[in-house]
């Protein structure tokens, strides 16, 4: 074990030695005496010993089990070697990086470097459970003779993502629906007798900018015929007269139109009204704005020795995701290289046989490098979802601060 550690840290040591000498010379030149001078003395550690530094920043994925999986958070964790582990915002600002790998309308992959899992996980949890969207919450069914039962139909409608910016809406309180907090859709489809069967898709739902058209049951349709009958919603104006929707009607965009709601046989009919309100994924998964939001730590595959010829071929064929490549180094010799470490799934197939193999390859994960993937359901583009999630965490902190003061 000790031997292996030594070999692992060799390359790190080199680079560290360089940066160390740099900072030392700089400190000495600037000032004589004072903290800078003390820190520049050769026996004052500037950094953790390389093997501890490696354990702090990497997870070791050994054949039996992963090792050094925890992140060291306590400010005084390295006090005994004179190293301050406390949080410094300026250091965080200097080290934190974001690199976008892939970005499309509903899919985003980016690298978040220099952040603790506590924060990365908070963002992930907020994305799944606390970023609001609009979803169908109440379905008023006037007629349903299809084979899909009312409650199943209502559930299916609830799960359809609506392409609308939820930030334009308020939360509906006490079920009082108005033009500021709800969207009303109508669905009236009938499969004519003698015709072919009908597939009802999400695009059959039509937006009712004036709110519900169903009169409340308590209303007598014959009395006070001059005023408008009361319906299930109380819209004070039409939604399509509002500036945010006048040029951008609410509905289902792109592929969302193709979501199948039900299939009708000849003679069957569905007539209903669906009321969508704002909510969060914590209440029900239909309000979750993401299909998935997940992260993984950056895999790091390190060859601990030169691997050549047959062993190289053997190791290359062991890897199911093609992490390794072989390059010719002349004289008919071949050498193994790590070409695609990012593809590594840490299946550990390359070190499964243990012994020899574990001495050749070291599988690690970088603890503060997260490959974050967000797949949006369609309400908001994924990059907006992420900034919204960060804003939500900020507002949570703000709430605690204001409660304490």
């Amino acid at each position: 074990m000790a031997k292996r550690d030594e070999r692992m840290s060799e390359e790190e040591e080199e680079s560290e030695a360089e940066s160390m000498s740099e900072s030392e010379s700089g400190g000495r030149g600037e000032s004589q005496g004072g903290l800078d001078y003390i820190m520049s003395l050769p026996d004052v550690p500037m950094k953790l010993p390389p093997h501890v530094e490696l354990q702090r920043t990497r997870v070791f994925c050994n054949a039996d089990a992963p090792n050094h999986t925890d992140t060291i958070q306590y400010s005084g964790a390295f006090a005994s070697v004179g190293i301050d582990n406390s949080f410094r915002l300026d250091h965080f600002r200097k080290d934190f990086r974001v690199e976008v790998i892939r970005c499309s309308d509903d899919d985003l992959e980016f690298d978040m470097i220099g952040i603790d899992p506590a924060l990365a996980n908070a963002f992930r949890r907020i994305l799944i459970a606390e970023v609001p969207t609009m979803a169908i919450e109440k379905v008023l069914i006037a007629n349903n003779t299809s084979v899909v039962q009312d409650e199943v139909l209502a559930h299916r409608l609830g799960l359809i993502p609506i392409s609308v910016d939820p930030r334009l809406f308020e939360y509906a309180e006490n079920n009082a629906l108005n033009e500021r907090n709800s969207i009303v859709f109508k669905l009236h489809v009938r499969c004519e007798r003698g015709g072919p069967r009908l597939t009802v898709k999400a695009n059959a739902l039509t937006w009712l900018p004036n709110g519900s058209e169903f009169p409340l049951q308590s209303e007598d349709p014959n009395s006070n015929s001059t005023s408008k009958p009361k319906t299930y919603t109380s819209f004070s104006c039409s939604q399509d007269s509002l500036p945010e929707f006048s040029s951008n009607p609410i509905g289902f965009k792109g592929r969302l139109n193709d979501i199948i709601i039900s299939k009708l046989a000849p003679g069957q009919e569905i007539e209903l009204e669906a009321h969508a309100v704002k909510g969060i994924g914590k209440t029900h998964a239909k309000w979750s704005p993401v299909a998935t939001a997940w992260y993984r730590m950056l895999p790091e595959v390190v060859l601990l020795e030169e691997i050549e010829d047959e062993v190289a071929e053997n190791l290359k064929s062991k890897c199911p995701v093609g992490v390794f490549d072989i390059e010719d180094i002349g004289n008919g010799k071949k050498r193994l290289t790590v070409a695609r470490p990012r593809a590594c799934t840490l299946c550990r197939e390359c070190i499964r046989e243990g012994g020899e193999w574990e001495k050749r390859v070291s599988l690690r994960r970088v603890k503060d490098h997260f490959i974050f993937t967000i797949e949006s359901t369609g309400a908001l583009p994924p990059e907006v979802l992420f900034t919204e999630a960060v804003k939500i965490l900020e507002s949570k902190c703000e709430r605690v601060i204001s409660e304490l003061s």
Binding site: Q73, Y74, S75, G76, D84, N85, S86, F87, L89, F92, R93, F96, R97, V98, E99, V100, C103, S104, D105, F110, M112, I115, D116, A118, L119, N121, A122, F123, R125, I126, A129, E130, S163, D165, R167, K253, L380, P381, E383, V384, F386, T387, V390, K391, L393, E394, K396, C397, E398, V400, I401, E403, L404, S405
Partner: protein
Amino acid sequence: MEHGSFSDNTKSTFSLADEDHTLANAIRFTLNQDPRVSFSGYSIPHPSENRVNIRVQTTGAPAGEVMKDACQDLMMMCQHVRSTFDKAVSDYKMRNPEDMNTNGTENV
């Protein structure tokens, strides 16, 4: 809500309603990185109650102040994450204009 003693304000338990691991674990992380903190941890007393208790013990500073600073730190980190992320995304879109979103809802 803060639960502490009147005579010794260096240790307190903060009971946050309607919060869970999301905030508590992030605050515990920033608390732990504060050199004034000698102990910090959190617990969820009952899974069906939306409440977390965060315990803070310090080496001398008032626990309430330390807690506030931890939240402040977390907020500053979030702001920095947000600005860095926005910049990275707009840089990416400059480099790859063909991937541009068509619905124009970003940066509202």
